[in-house]
Chain length 161, copies 2
Protein backbone atom coordinates (compact mmCIF):
# COMPACT_ATOMS: atom_id res chain seq x y z
CA UNK A 1 0.00 0.00 0.00
CA UNK A 2 1.11 3.52 -0.71
CA UNK A 3 0.86 6.30 1.86
CA UNK A 4 -1.20 9.37 0.97
CA UNK A 5 -0.88 12.65 2.86
CA UNK A 6 -1.37 16.39 2.42
CA UNK A 7 1.39 17.95 0.34
CA UNK A 8 3.76 20.44 1.94
CA UNK A 9 5.99 23.15 0.50
CA UNK A 10 9.02 20.83 0.53
CA UNK A 11 7.23 18.40 -1.79
CA UNK A 12 7.19 20.92 -4.64
CA UNK A 13 10.36 19.70 -6.43
CA UNK A 14 9.14 16.07 -6.41
CA UNK A 15 5.64 17.12 -7.52
CA UNK A 16 7.16 19.20 -10.31
CA UNK A 17 9.13 16.17 -11.57
CA UNK A 18 5.83 14.26 -11.88
CA UNK A 19 3.99 17.17 -13.55
CA UNK A 20 6.86 17.68 -16.00
CA UNK A 21 6.95 13.99 -16.95
CA UNK A 22 3.15 13.79 -17.34
CA UNK A 23 2.70 16.92 -19.45
CA UNK A 24 5.72 16.05 -21.63
CA UNK A 25 3.52 13.78 -23.75
CA UNK A 26 0.98 16.49 -24.64
CA UNK A 27 -1.61 13.72 -24.64
CA UNK A 28 -3.53 13.94 -21.34
CA UNK A 29 -3.41 17.43 -19.86
CA UNK A 30 -3.92 20.87 -21.40
CA UNK A 31 -0.72 22.31 -19.87
CA UNK A 32 1.84 22.72 -22.65
CA UNK A 33 4.91 20.45 -22.37
CA UNK A 34 7.13 23.53 -21.96
CA UNK A 35 5.13 24.99 -19.04
CA UNK A 36 7.51 26.65 -16.54
CA UNK A 37 8.08 25.00 -13.15
CA UNK A 38 7.04 28.04 -11.08
CA UNK A 39 3.78 28.50 -12.94
CA UNK A 40 2.83 24.84 -12.66
CA UNK A 41 3.68 24.37 -8.98
CA UNK A 42 1.87 27.62 -8.15
CA UNK A 43 -1.17 26.26 -9.98
CA UNK A 44 -0.94 22.79 -8.41
CA UNK A 45 -0.49 24.24 -4.89
CA UNK A 46 -2.93 27.18 -5.28
CA UNK A 47 -4.52 28.38 -2.01
CA UNK A 48 -8.03 27.22 -2.98
CA UNK A 49 -6.80 23.66 -3.52
CA UNK A 50 -6.28 20.73 -1.17
CA UNK A 51 -3.11 19.16 -2.55
CA UNK A 52 -1.91 15.64 -1.73
CA UNK A 53 1.01 13.34 -2.50
CA UNK A 54 1.21 9.56 -2.71
CA UNK A 55 4.37 7.92 -1.38
CA UNK A 56 5.72 4.50 -2.26
CA UNK A 57 8.83 3.25 -0.45
CA UNK A 58 9.77 6.78 0.61
CA UNK A 59 9.38 8.27 -2.87
CA UNK A 60 6.62 10.61 -4.09
CA UNK A 61 5.03 8.73 -7.00
CA UNK A 62 1.73 10.53 -7.40
CA UNK A 63 -0.10 13.75 -6.61
CA UNK A 64 -3.62 15.11 -6.77
CA UNK A 65 -5.68 18.06 -5.66
CA UNK A 66 -9.29 18.70 -4.72
CA UNK A 67 -11.19 21.98 -4.92
CA UNK A 68 -14.69 23.33 -5.42
CA UNK A 69 -15.57 23.22 -9.12
CA UNK A 70 -17.59 26.44 -8.84
CA UNK A 71 -17.79 29.20 -6.23
CA UNK A 72 -20.79 29.97 -4.01
CA UNK A 73 -24.02 28.29 -5.07
CA UNK A 74 -22.10 25.60 -6.98
CA UNK A 75 -19.38 24.96 -4.39
CA UNK A 76 -20.85 21.66 -3.18
CA UNK A 77 -19.45 19.91 -6.29
CA UNK A 78 -15.75 19.06 -6.11
CA UNK A 79 -13.24 19.10 -8.92
CA UNK A 80 -9.94 17.22 -8.89
CA UNK A 81 -6.85 16.39 -10.93
CA UNK A 82 -4.42 13.48 -10.57
CA UNK A 83 -0.98 12.61 -11.83
CA UNK A 84 1.08 9.45 -11.43
CA UNK A 85 4.79 9.36 -12.19
CA UNK A 86 5.15 7.53 -15.53
CA UNK A 87 7.87 5.30 -14.02
CA UNK A 88 5.41 4.11 -11.33
CA UNK A 89 2.57 3.05 -13.64
CA UNK A 90 0.73 -0.26 -13.30
CA UNK A 91 1.00 -0.34 -9.49
CA UNK A 92 -2.56 0.81 -8.79
CA UNK A 93 -1.43 4.21 -7.55
CA UNK A 94 -4.05 6.05 -9.60
CA UNK A 95 -6.76 3.78 -8.25
CA UNK A 96 -5.64 4.27 -4.64
CA UNK A 97 -5.46 8.06 -5.06
CA UNK A 98 -8.92 8.01 -6.68
CA UNK A 99 -10.50 6.13 -3.79
CA UNK A 100 -8.73 8.23 -1.19
CA UNK A 101 -9.82 11.45 -2.88
CA UNK A 102 -13.47 10.38 -2.99
CA UNK A 103 -13.45 9.71 0.75
CA UNK A 104 -11.57 12.93 1.40
CA UNK A 105 -13.96 14.99 -0.76
CA UNK A 106 -16.90 13.57 1.20
CA UNK A 107 -15.15 14.39 4.46
CA UNK A 108 -14.63 17.98 3.25
CA UNK A 109 -18.40 18.28 2.71
CA UNK A 110 -18.63 17.92 -1.07
CA UNK A 111 -21.69 16.01 -2.31
CA UNK A 112 -20.49 15.22 -5.85
CA UNK A 113 -17.34 15.31 -7.95
CA UNK A 114 -16.97 16.53 -11.52
CA UNK A 115 -14.12 16.35 -14.01
CA UNK A 116 -14.38 19.03 -16.66
CA UNK A 117 -11.84 17.69 -19.11
CA UNK A 118 -10.90 14.03 -19.46
CA UNK A 119 -9.25 13.53 -22.84
CA UNK A 120 -11.30 10.87 -24.65
CA UNK A 121 -8.26 9.04 -26.02
CA UNK A 122 -6.83 8.74 -22.48
CA UNK A 123 -8.60 5.41 -22.03
CA UNK A 124 -6.61 4.47 -18.92
CA UNK A 125 -8.07 7.49 -17.12
CA UNK A 126 -11.58 7.10 -18.52
CA UNK A 127 -11.72 3.44 -17.45
CA UNK A 128 -10.30 4.18 -14.02
CA UNK A 129 -12.98 6.81 -13.39
CA UNK A 130 -15.73 4.55 -14.61
CA UNK A 131 -14.48 1.77 -12.32
CA UNK A 132 -14.79 4.04 -9.29
CA UNK A 133 -18.32 5.14 -10.18
CA UNK A 134 -18.01 8.10 -12.54
CA UNK A 135 -20.31 8.52 -15.52
CA UNK A 136 -19.71 10.45 -18.71
CA UNK A 137 -22.26 13.29 -18.59
CA UNK A 138 -20.99 15.26 -21.57
CA UNK A 139 -18.55 15.25 -24.48
CA UNK A 140 -16.83 18.36 -25.84
CA UNK A 141 -16.01 18.15 -29.56
CA UNK A 142 -12.41 18.92 -30.58
CA UNK A 143 -11.63 20.24 -27.12
CA UNK A 144 -8.01 19.09 -26.91
CA UNK A 145 -5.08 19.67 -29.25
CA UNK A 146 -3.45 16.26 -28.82
CA UNK A 147 0.28 16.09 -29.64
CA UNK A 148 -0.17 13.09 -31.97
CA UNK A 149 -3.88 12.90 -32.89
CA UNK A 150 -4.62 16.63 -33.30
CA UNK A 151 -8.05 17.82 -32.20
CA UNK A 152 -9.72 15.20 -30.02
CA UNK A 153 -12.82 15.21 -27.82
CA UNK A 154 -12.88 15.51 -24.05
CA UNK A 155 -15.39 13.98 -21.62
CA UNK A 156 -17.08 15.60 -18.67
CA UNK A 157 -17.40 12.99 -15.91
CA UNK A 158 -19.39 13.04 -12.68
CA UNK A 159 -20.38 11.02 -9.68
CA UNK A 160 -22.32 11.64 -6.47
CA UNK A 161 -20.44 11.23 -3.22
Amino acid sequence: MIEIRKAVEDDKPAVWRIIKAVIAGGDTYVYPPDSPEGEMTEYWFAPEKYTYVAIDEGRIVGTFWLKANQPGLGAHVANAAYMVSPDAGGKGIGRQMAEYSLKEARRLGFTAMQFNFVVKSNTVAVKLWQRVGFEIIGEIPDAFDHARHGLTNAYIMYRKL
Copy 2:
Protein backbone atom coordinates in the same frame (compact mmCIF):
# COMPACT_ATOMS: atom_id res chain seq x y z
CA MET B 1 -29.25 49.48 -31.62
CA ILE B 2 -27.04 49.38 -28.59
CA GLU B 3 -23.36 50.20 -28.71
CA ILE B 4 -20.91 47.53 -27.56
CA ARG B 5 -17.30 48.35 -26.67
CA LYS B 6 -14.40 47.12 -24.53
CA ALA B 7 -14.92 47.92 -20.85
CA VAL B 8 -12.56 50.37 -19.13
CA GLU B 9 -11.68 50.93 -15.48
CA ASP B 10 -14.24 53.74 -15.17
CA ASP B 11 -17.05 51.34 -16.12
CA LYS B 12 -16.57 49.29 -12.95
CA PRO B 13 -19.25 51.02 -10.81
CA ALA B 14 -21.89 50.64 -13.55
CA VAL B 15 -20.85 47.01 -14.18
CA TRP B 16 -21.04 46.31 -10.46
CA ARG B 17 -24.63 47.65 -10.33
CA ILE B 18 -25.58 45.13 -13.01
CA ILE B 19 -23.73 42.24 -11.35
CA LYS B 20 -25.30 43.08 -7.98
CA ALA B 21 -28.82 43.19 -9.44
CA VAL B 22 -28.33 39.94 -11.39
CA ILE B 23 -26.85 37.87 -8.56
CA ALA B 24 -29.43 39.21 -6.05
CA GLY B 25 -31.92 36.59 -7.25
CA GLY B 26 -29.63 33.61 -6.55
CA ASP B 27 -31.29 31.94 -9.53
CA THR B 28 -28.89 32.24 -12.48
CA TYR B 29 -25.26 32.63 -11.34
CA VAL B 30 -23.21 30.80 -8.71
CA TYR B 31 -21.93 34.02 -7.10
CA PRO B 32 -23.72 34.45 -3.75
CA PRO B 33 -26.10 37.45 -3.54
CA ASP B 34 -23.89 38.99 -0.82
CA SER B 35 -20.66 38.80 -2.88
CA PRO B 36 -18.49 41.86 -2.19
CA GLU B 37 -18.11 44.53 -4.90
CA GLY B 38 -14.30 44.39 -5.01
CA GLU B 39 -14.18 40.63 -5.38
CA MET B 40 -16.78 40.60 -8.16
CA THR B 41 -15.35 43.46 -10.22
CA GLU B 42 -11.86 41.96 -9.87
CA TYR B 43 -13.28 38.66 -11.18
CA TRP B 44 -15.26 40.29 -14.01
CA PHE B 45 -12.28 42.44 -15.10
CA ALA B 46 -9.59 39.78 -14.51
CA PRO B 47 -6.45 40.16 -16.70
CA GLU B 48 -7.13 36.95 -18.67
CA LYS B 49 -10.59 38.19 -19.70
CA TYR B 50 -11.76 40.41 -22.54
CA THR B 51 -14.50 42.44 -20.84
CA TYR B 52 -17.16 44.45 -22.71
CA VAL B 53 -20.09 46.72 -21.94
CA ALA B 54 -23.32 47.35 -23.86
CA ILE B 55 -24.61 50.92 -23.89
CA ASP B 56 -28.17 52.05 -24.56
CA GLU B 57 -28.89 55.78 -24.70
CA GLY B 58 -25.69 56.59 -22.81
CA ARG B 59 -26.30 54.06 -20.05
CA ILE B 60 -24.45 50.77 -19.46
CA VAL B 61 -27.19 48.14 -19.61
CA GLY B 62 -25.21 44.94 -20.14
CA THR B 63 -21.76 43.42 -19.80
CA PHE B 64 -19.96 40.27 -20.84
CA TRP B 65 -16.50 38.78 -20.98
CA LEU B 66 -14.66 36.29 -23.15
CA LYS B 67 -11.70 34.14 -22.20
CA ALA B 68 -10.08 30.80 -23.01
CA ASN B 69 -11.99 28.00 -21.28
CA GLN B 70 -8.78 26.02 -20.73
CA PRO B 71 -5.07 26.90 -20.87
CA GLY B 72 -2.57 25.62 -23.43
CA LEU B 73 -3.77 22.69 -25.51
CA GLY B 74 -7.42 23.58 -24.80
CA ALA B 75 -7.14 27.35 -25.26
CA HIS B 76 -8.80 27.37 -28.70
CA VAL B 77 -12.22 27.01 -27.04
CA ALA B 78 -13.66 30.22 -25.60
CA ASN B 79 -15.72 30.64 -22.49
CA ALA B 80 -17.98 33.62 -21.78
CA ALA B 81 -20.46 35.10 -19.31
CA TYR B 82 -23.15 37.72 -19.87
CA MET B 83 -25.33 39.92 -17.70
CA VAL B 84 -28.11 42.31 -18.63
CA SER B 85 -29.45 44.90 -16.20
CA PRO B 86 -32.83 43.55 -14.98
CA ASP B 87 -34.42 46.96 -15.70
CA ALA B 88 -33.37 46.71 -19.36
CA GLY B 89 -34.82 43.28 -20.10
CA GLY B 90 -36.90 42.49 -23.20
CA LYS B 91 -34.94 44.88 -25.44
CA GLY B 92 -32.83 42.24 -27.13
CA ILE B 93 -29.67 43.32 -25.36
CA GLY B 94 -28.70 39.74 -24.48
CA ARG B 95 -29.17 38.67 -28.08
CA GLN B 96 -27.07 41.56 -29.42
CA MET B 97 -24.29 40.87 -26.91
CA ALA B 98 -24.43 37.16 -27.83
CA GLU B 99 -24.01 37.83 -31.54
CA TYR B 100 -21.30 40.42 -30.97
CA SER B 101 -19.38 38.05 -28.69
CA LEU B 102 -19.47 35.21 -31.22
CA LYS B 103 -17.99 37.47 -33.89
CA GLU B 104 -15.45 38.83 -31.43
CA ALA B 105 -14.43 35.36 -30.24
CA ARG B 106 -13.85 34.33 -33.87
CA ARG B 107 -11.80 37.48 -34.45
CA LEU B 108 -9.69 36.63 -31.38
CA GLY B 109 -8.88 33.25 -32.90
CA PHE B 110 -11.17 30.95 -30.94
CA THR B 111 -12.70 28.08 -32.92
CA ALA B 112 -15.53 27.16 -30.55
CA MET B 113 -17.32 28.48 -27.48
CA GLN B 114 -18.36 26.55 -24.38
CA PHE B 115 -20.52 27.47 -21.39
CA ASN B 116 -19.74 25.32 -18.37
CA PHE B 117 -22.73 26.19 -16.26
CA VAL B 118 -26.10 27.33 -17.62
CA VAL B 119 -28.73 26.82 -14.92
CA LYS B 120 -31.40 24.56 -16.44
CA SER B 121 -34.31 26.52 -14.97
CA ASN B 122 -32.94 29.73 -16.54
CA THR B 123 -34.98 29.08 -19.68
CA VAL B 124 -34.48 32.61 -21.04
CA ALA B 125 -30.75 31.98 -21.23
CA VAL B 126 -31.02 28.40 -22.50
CA LYS B 127 -33.36 29.49 -25.32
CA LEU B 128 -31.20 32.47 -26.23
CA TRP B 129 -28.13 30.24 -26.58
CA GLN B 130 -30.00 27.69 -28.62
CA ARG B 131 -31.29 30.45 -30.93
CA VAL B 132 -27.71 31.56 -31.67
CA GLY B 133 -26.54 28.05 -32.41
CA PHE B 134 -25.48 26.48 -29.11
CA GLU B 135 -26.25 22.87 -28.30
CA ILE B 136 -26.59 21.22 -24.92
CA ILE B 137 -23.65 18.78 -24.76
CA GLY B 138 -23.97 17.81 -21.10
CA GLU B 139 -26.12 18.11 -18.00
CA ILE B 140 -24.73 18.23 -14.45
CA PRO B 141 -27.12 16.81 -11.83
CA ASP B 142 -27.87 19.01 -8.79
CA ALA B 143 -25.09 21.40 -9.75
CA PHE B 144 -26.73 24.63 -8.57
CA ASP B 145 -28.21 25.56 -5.20
CA HIS B 146 -31.11 27.67 -6.51
CA ALA B 147 -32.52 30.25 -4.07
CA ARG B 148 -36.11 29.03 -4.59
CA HIS B 149 -35.92 25.55 -6.13
CA GLY B 150 -32.98 24.11 -4.18
CA LEU B 151 -30.65 21.80 -6.06
CA THR B 152 -31.18 22.11 -9.80
CA ASN B 153 -29.26 20.85 -12.84
CA ALA B 154 -26.95 22.89 -15.04
CA TYR B 155 -26.30 22.49 -18.74
CA ILE B 156 -23.00 22.55 -20.57
CA MET B 157 -23.52 24.28 -23.92
CA TYR B 158 -21.25 24.50 -26.95
CA ARG B 159 -21.01 25.75 -30.50
CA LYS B 160 -18.35 25.90 -33.19
CA LEU B 161 -17.33 29.34 -34.39
